[in-house]
Symmetry: C2
């Protein structure tokens, strides 16, 4: 691995290293690796910028009065008022993309504050509302002519694990019972009542701003 | 207006003009104007590329088993199987953006072909399914911290007309009865059953590829 890390100084906080770095002890170096990987990904974008824009984790967030997921006629998951979040994973997604999406979804202010009269004031947690996460690889559909092509979506085996860790992240950041999910990879019917309607798109590539 | 049109040759198809051009007679010049405006918009993007990406008309398309729109407890519009299309208008949107979104939504292949067994084969028109259009300015929400900011969305007065012309365009391209819409600017509850789920995002800025 160290051959990839030429950009990391062998001197770190004034210490010299004569044996391989124990990277897990240095969170700042971890984020440097993330930045480096992201930079490489950006470069890839740069080369073909006019042809197509490679992006990171995508989410479509709908503010719902209620939502549920049905698999083969059986309701497997249901929430009352809250957010339905469709999540599309890109093949190059990293831990930091998941963190960004989790943080933003839970904190974005999509609810009014009845007391102050402000329209966009409270987040889903302040309302004690629920979150339903549904994986949605079609968000990476790129139209070739009129045919959707999904080759930049994260492959299913990897995506299944990554998606599970994303759900965990949401549960840890909010609470266990308030965050529900669908069934990864299953054919689902997702029932929802979009309240407003209010629909937002998030893209973890925005996180570098 | 002519001061903006320095790039248009005064000689057009071999003719010389000594009086102001009657531009509506020249569809090719119209598209040149569109290109010019788009170019200026692109430039604006270029300047602030790292800060934020200005885009054109956006649509979130959900493949539905059924969908309906409710205003103040009353159902004002309903479709069976088909597409629910949430449309966000950008302040700089042009006729050509509307044309792109209309063409792509109606032609994108989101349905399987039972005969050939192909998964992504038929478009909504080939299935004789319906389309429900709902305007959704929140698609232009840009997060400032955690607060959505909608300043790049088309202002309501202009958007109302533009949106109405978009609905017309869909009806003309498909058919009168198969294309329904919500109530512009009203508080709505949009009920839908996302079938798959299948959700795609379109952006008319892709049209230049």
């Amino acid at each position: 691995m160290s051959s990839n890390l030429g950009f990391i100084p062998f001197q770190y906080q004034g210490l010299h290293f004569h044996k391989p770095l124990q990277l897990h002890k240095f969170p700042r170096i971890h984020s440097a690796i993330d930045r480096h990987k992201r930079h490489k990904r950006r470069n890839r974008v740069g080369l073909g910028r006019r042809k197509f824009l490679i992006k990171s984790m995508k989410a479509v967030i709908q503010r719902v009065a209620s939502a549920s997921v049905e698999v083969e006629g059986r309701t497997v998951s249901a929430i009352g008022p809250g957010l339905l979040v469709l999540v599309g994973l890109h093949e190059s997604d990293l831990e930091s993309d998941a963190e960004y999406i989790c943080r933003k979804v839970l904190n974005m202010r999509l609810y009014p504050n009845e007391k102050s009269g402000k329209t966009w004031d409270q987040n889903v947690m302040q309302r004690n509302y629920e979150v339903l996460l549904v994986s949605q690889f079609t968000l990476y559909g790129v139209l070739k002519g009129n045919k959707p092509d999904f080759h930049v979506a994260m492959p299913p085996e990897k995506a299944k694990l990554f998606y599970a860790s994303l759900v965990e992240k949401f549960r840890k950041a909010y609470n266990m019972d308030a965050v529900k999910d669908g069934v990864f990879g299953a054919m689902m019917k997702v029932n929802l009542v979009n309240d407003g309607p209010v629909t937002m798109q998030l893209d973890s590539a925005q996180s570098s701003r």
